[in-house]
């Protein structure tokens, strides 16, 4: 097969609305949709019977670690993990070293993404210089740069000073930007290790109260209402947070919210192992919170699923819980977990998944060439999943440079079969291919979990 001969006939698919259909792709664009399409002579036929096709997935929250922490991940390795997970666009968080708080850094990351050629990499700019929460970074310069940054976040840190937050929300109105807040009141979470509750009390790990997250969400929805700007809440984890967002949306406040796959599946019970593979910021919460998050995602209170893919080298996790780094891998398992927790439970249709994982994140991020519906003439960004096939997660087979998946050894349902980015199969039959690879598939560097 050739990647440059970019004509494909995908057969046996089910569209998000449940219709059985074939798809034809030529030169990066969807050229035909319909039952039993006739094969053109130069079409490569891919049989995808039993699979569902979605608009290519868009992640609004990814840590790629480059520049600065290339031992954990690079733009290239993260892009490959993304393609393998069904993504066609990802958003590189600003907490790199140096921090992405200038036009120079975001342009570098953007260019690295384009040269990797597996997904579009949209850099997120820091709200404040050095993520220190004190002085605004060069927001305008980043917005006007080649990277065209629209999403700003100090993720990892909370923009906790209410005046700084107010100014940032106001400033991004100039170009229709959005502030993505990591909601964590620092004074209530100093040294915090895990969700504060029954389990933390017994484990003797310092508690991370739900109110530390909810208090900032409540403050910021009021602030954004006051200045009439646009707010996005990163990785919502608590039932109370869902309630606040629901209330704010009912009032017409311009706020969106995301949930991670791991907060849809895992609870703080996993901390009983003291294995820091389950240590994450914000922390895993209770079963009641998990249920509220699923419900919120189903009814649209929570707009999107975002991975918060956070690679770390082995030594950052092979240690005592309180010494370990926060964060877990997410890109390669996200769609399976959404399938398992939302689709198979009847909470979300595939059209709902398309919205929460492609259309809505592209809209929030302002990613114009992404998040379109599957229709003739649209760019061929496509994700194909077999929802009934299952697999056992193996951390040694991930495409990411790091191995800190909390799902190692777990049986997950739903296997990504193919990802098409600009009409090229960046992931197909267990192989990863860059759109720049000239004529032949590049060797899969990360292997496959199949």
């Amino acid at each position: 097969m050739s990647a440059t001969n970019s004509k494909f006939l995908l057969t046996g698919l089910t569209l998000p609305d449940g219709t059985a259909s074939d798809l034809q792709i030529a030169n990066g664009v969807i050229t035909a949709i319909g039952k039993t399409l006739a094969k053109n002579s130069d079409d490569q036929v891919v049989d995808l019977k039993g699979s569902v096709v979605l608009p290519g997935l868009v992640d609004l929250h990814t840590h790629l670690r480059e520049p600065g922490k290339e031992d954990a991940e690079t733009v290239l390795s993260g892009s490959m993990a993304a393609a393998k997970g069904g993504y066609v666009a990802i958003s590189a968080m600003a907490n790199t070293s140096p921090v992405a708080d200038t036009a120079g850094v975001v342009e570098q990351v953007y260019a690295l993404g384009q040269s990797a050629g597996f997904v579009d990499v949209f850099p997120i700019g820091a709200v404040t210089q050095g993520l220190a929460g004190e002085a605004l970074s060069e927001i305008g310069a980043m917005a006007d740069s080649n990277a065209r940054v629209r999403v700003f976040s100090d993720d990892g840190n909370c923009v906790h000073d209410p005046l700084v937050m107010r100014r940032a929300l106001e400033y991004v109105k100039k170009f229709g930007g959005v502030i993505a807040q990591h909601a964590q009141e620092p004074a209530l979470t100093k040294g915090a290790q895990m969700n504060e509750g029954d389990i933390s009390s017994r484990l003797g790990l310092k508690g991370w109260p739900a109110v530390a997250e909810e208090a900032i969400i409540a403050r910021d929805v009021l602030l954004v209402d006051h200045v009439q700007s646009r707010l996005h809440i990163c990785h919502l984890t608590t039932a109370g947070g869902v309630e606040i967002i629901r209330w704010a949306k009912a009032r017409g406040i311009n706020v969106t919210a995301e949930v991670t796959p791991h907060h849809l599946l895992l609870t703080d019970d996993y901390a009983n192992s003291y294995d820091p593979i389950f240590k994450v910021n914000p922390p895993l919460r209770t079963q009641r919170d998990v249920e509220a998050l699923r419900e919120g995602l189903a009814d649209g209170t929570i707009d999107i699923v975002a991975t918060d893919h956070a690679p770390h080298p082995a030594e950052a996790k092979e240690c005592e819980w309180q010494e370990a780094a926060f964060g877990m891998l997410g890109l390669e398992s996200a769609l399976s977990i959404v399938n398992q927790t939302m689709v198979q439970t009847g909470l979300l249709t595939w059209e709902g998944v398309a919205d929460r994982m492609s259309l809505a994140p592209a809209r929030i991020g302002g990613y114009e060439n992404h998040g379109g519906r599957i229709e003739v003439g649209a760019p061929a960004h496509l994700t194909v999943i077999n929802p009934t096939q299952s697999y056992r997660v193996d951390r040694d087979l991930v495409a990411s440079r790091s191995r800190n998946t909390p799902f190692h050894g777990m049986e997950l349902s739903g296997v990504v079969q193919a990802t098409f980015f600009r009409g090229i199969p960046t992931y197909l039959a267990g192989q990863l291919t860059s759109i720049h690879s000239n004529g032949s598939y590049s060797k899969s560097q990360g292997g496959t979990s199949l």
């Binding site: 504060e196 509750g197 389990i199 009390s201 017994r202």
Partner: protein, 323 residues
Amino acid sequence: MKHLLSINDLSKSEAIAILDTAQELARVSDGPMKKLPTLRGRTIVNLFAEDSTRTRISFEAAAKRLSADVINFSAKGSSISKGESLKDTAQTLQAMGADAVIIRHGASGAAQRLADSKWMSGAVINAGDGTHEHPSQALLDAFTIRKHLAKSGEDLTGIKVVIVGDVLHSRVARSNVLLLAKLGADVTLVAPPTLLPVGIESWPCKISYDFDSAIIGADAVMMLRIQQERMSEMFFPNAREYSRYFGLNSDRVKVLKPTTLVMHPGPMNRGLEITADAADGARSVIVEQVSNGVSVRMAILYMLLAGAPEGELVGITREVGAL
């Protein structure tokens, strides 16, 4: 039972067996010849990543009285202070052939990490991990209570124990609540609300903010250490106010029954959580707790390293009896 990481690792009968074994071993410590050959040729490492005097010495004495070879490995001046990871330290100890590691560590769960990892294969004994647990301390406290207030072979049903102080940061309190409840005692924790963890409602004990009412009818009062660093963290207004509401002083001692035990795991802050007359008074068993600690830790080492838990009790009785 391969490791002792938490009181949850022990069944009730195993806990009673440790207390009974300790009682037999206490006879050895009281005798002229304090040593048993049981663990001859076995290597036990005292891995103390956090400062400690009494626990380390107590375990060392216990191991030596069972004829084990003891290697002390303290944080200061060791590779740990040079930033060596727990993993590398564990692999070093494994390479040196440690049969058991007694670990004291500032991080909650460090002992369990050591036991669950593939870094070493020996037995792991938790000698205090962060604010999680300190099971050998709870066992020696239960031993002390039983010695005075119950019979050997029995549990602690109906005995009323009041534990007072910084429960939030106390590994001693966590292990004691679990063990005393397992043994049937009636446990009440007394502290200002700031020093009780959120989630404590799920613990098998009662909670009180009022020392004076909780103390009535108590069979044992266990005082917890207040660390100096809590002063600056706004858990209570100042030391004077803490002492007034939560300190054991002579007025409160007067309310106690003559048989009530006054206990403290040490080290004490005299004048803060306990006054000198309470600490040194007739009801105090604080010094005795220390000597009981050696017997209880001998029992723990014996049970983990010398063989099966209950069946071996006969053997130890014979060994002791033969002296």
